[in-house]
């Protein structure tokens, strides 16, 4: 099979840079700590990972990973691009990961090693297929052809009975929200099993749809053991549900690709636990690399975080994540970036100014449920702010024309310009 994968890393090492690069390339392809009998030149020529480029960059001051060998004073940082023959693993994402993101994180030669990008041949898109629905399919199902898609997370995250959940959903639907999702903490626990949530929520949504002519999309969290995913999905879809949520890292990228095979509705891809592989600046995966795999595996929606969020990422990082998800990936359908975490109406103008598109799913949890006049007013504040921003209005104008937005600002602080 012709073709190759380019994996881009940021590395640090106290060894000569080219030696560290060769160690990494060897360990991840034909080599081990000694040259062995059958590691012939022919084998190396055909199967070894090759250093495509190695460019020194400035150190950033981060601590070396533990166990690093060499003189700390010799430490240097570089961008390394390695070329892996596709023949080594084929277009299999699990086996690709063993090559580009396996044991290498444990190499003592490396004081930092972060996979920051992946260039994949088209074979991966053909095998995995990417999103089945994407932006257009999502908009059609939720009946929201234009404007930012305004959504919310059920709060409190857990603890509502199915009957209470149905009440909340009824309120939100009446307030005109486009999208509602289970919290990632609400899986299939004994206190509110998925089947009971579906049974409680779907009649409310269907009866709303009969009156209003459109039904908000509800992303039921179907995350669970692999052998329960299809049953959970069917339970939602057979009841008329139009979206399933999967915590990608809890079922693995492989689990996501599995769901994609039978999914009849968009897959809402939650990134919980992503921080464990990404927050260290010295280790793991950048969002840019990881999101390509998640999109190939079928995420119709993918969490990118939002500006002024409650987590650690800066606005620049968030905007880069949104841009990454919006960048075309082979011939796959575009995935919807999902802005979440500490979002509220006062962030609409700044977000729209920075992103320049309405093809976003903007989720406010506390920003809607915590609105001083209740969830319906919370939805109203979001809609008013986003409509204003999209129409080129200013924050001041939006505040003047929406009391729900003024009340949101009283509760959550000044709106960002």
């Amino acid at each position: 099979m012709p073709g190759h994968v380019i994996a881009t890393y940021v590395i640090e090492t106290s060894l000569p840079l080219d030696q560290a690069a060769e160690t990494l390339a060897g360990e991840q392809s034909t080599g081990t700590f000694v040259r062995v009998e059958r590691e012939s030149d022919q084998v190396r020529a055909r199967f070894a990972a090759q250093v495509e480029s190695l460019e020194e960059i400035a150190l950033t001051g981060g601590s070396a990973l533990p166990g690093t060998v060499g003189e700390p004073a010799q430490r240097r940082r570089a961008v390394l691009r390695l070329r892996f023959p596709l023949d080594n693993f084929g277009p299999s994402i699990p086996n690709l990961q063993a090559a580009v993101a396996g044991n290498l994180f444990e190499l003592k030669e490396l004081a930092a090693v972060k996979l920051v990008d992946l260039d994949l041949p088209i074979d991966f898109a053909h095998r995995y297929g990417g999103p089945r629905f994407g932006i257009a399919g999502t908009r059609q199902l939720m009946g929201a052809q234009t404007g930012a898609m305004i959504g919310t997370i059920v709060k409190p995250s857990i603890g509502l009975s199915p009957a209470e959940l149905a009440d909340v959903v009824g309120e939100l639907a009446a307030a005109g929200v486009d999208f509602i999702k289970d919290d990632e903490l609400q899986g299939n626990g004994p206190s509110a099993p998925l089947a009971e949530r579906v049974a409680a929520v779907m009649p409310v949504l269907r009866s709303h749809a009969e009156r209003a002519g459109r039904m908000p999309m509800y992303a039921f969290n179907i995350t669970d053991d692999i052998d329960l995913l299809e049953r959970n999905h069917d339970l939602v879809v057979d009841a008329g549900g139009t979206c399933v949520m999967v915590c990608i890292n809890m079922v693995g990228l492989a689990g996501l690709a599995h769901v994609r095979r039978f999914a009849r509705v968009p897959i809402h891809g939650h990134r919980a636990m992503f921080g464990s592989i990404s927050r260290s600046p010295q280790l793991g995966f950048s969002f840019r690399a990881w999101q390509k795999l998640a999109r190939l595996c079928g995420a119709d929606h993918l969490h990118t975080n939002g500006i002024s969020n409650k987590f650690y990422e800066s606005d620049d990082e968030v905007l880069a994540a949104i841009a990454a998800v919006r960048t075309p990936l082979a011939d796959t359908k575009p995935t919807v970036p999902v802005l979440s975490s500490g979002q509220w109406a006062g962030l609409a103008h700044a977000t729209y100014a920075a992103v320049g598109t309405s093809d976003l799913l903007v989720l406010a949890g506390g920003g809607i449920h915590g609105h001083p006049d209740g969830a319906a007013a919370g939805v109203e504040s979001m809609r008013a702010a986003w409509s204003s921003a999209e129409a080129g209005g200013s924050v001041r104008e939006a505040l003047a024309s929406s009391s729900a937005l003024r009340r949101a600002v009283e509760a959550f602080g000044p709106a960002r310009e």
Copy 2:
């Protein structure tokens, strides 16, 4: 459902410790960044995660995770134990992870957050079942009732044709090895598809078994998309294979549990990519916590690394990992610790002295294939060293009685006492 999970973290924060602990507990159960309408005291009492204990410990000098809030000079470190009601997620490992290891890694209140242990109620063991074969089942299948189980990884990791692989396996079997495995880089690529490897290797192993009365266990790497795992497993077992290898992190813990449901042979659990969630001292998972989940999900064998390895871990860390895997876990069968990475005969005495058991699978890749007299001599050196150590002999005595060991020492350096 009664019962609870205790998750133990090491955290750092520049906020008051109890405030950071409450933020973590709230974010991972009923709370969000504002108190919302239905987060009643009753909901909190039943569903909120509770701080079980919080004990300050000394800072270690690691860099704060990026995006951390608060005054750096105020930073403190603590061991935090949180109690989560089982009712929130039930005994579902994917949904457990959303609670104990989800968004929390991204909290800006935390300058470090590492999940270092998990105490799980028996419900998890009953749902997942743990290893089907464990130590006893593995020993029986490989015909190695006593002594350390001596194994090797096919080297070069990739690049051998199926016919060349069959030659290597024939040599290793003749040399009396107990166990052979595919490298984690050898998945199901076009250059050596699993089906061709199985077809080439199994006749060699079977014909060896007819002569010798026992067959080495060969762990074929079946890692691939979820929907291929059962087919790959069946391909191995139907051909008479006695082990399958799964790269746990490439298919997810959920993928491992999926394989366990249909596995008719032991599952060799490889930990490639584990470094990405563990090598940072400030972030992610300790091996102690992670290995419990891998064992529950059915890993009959689990990689722990070995002493004097080629990766970053110190001997103390490796020995703690081996001890962790050997610690009983509910009523599950014991998993075989797999010592790998840079292992060779000269480490036998030091390993046995430190570990005090032969219920280990010791893998030497380069240490066997890179032996100056070839792989058969490599196996002989391993067997001689381990037999000596287990019989209470010294390194000096072992060297005196084994020329294969002496030759290994010439190639790989002095043996460790």
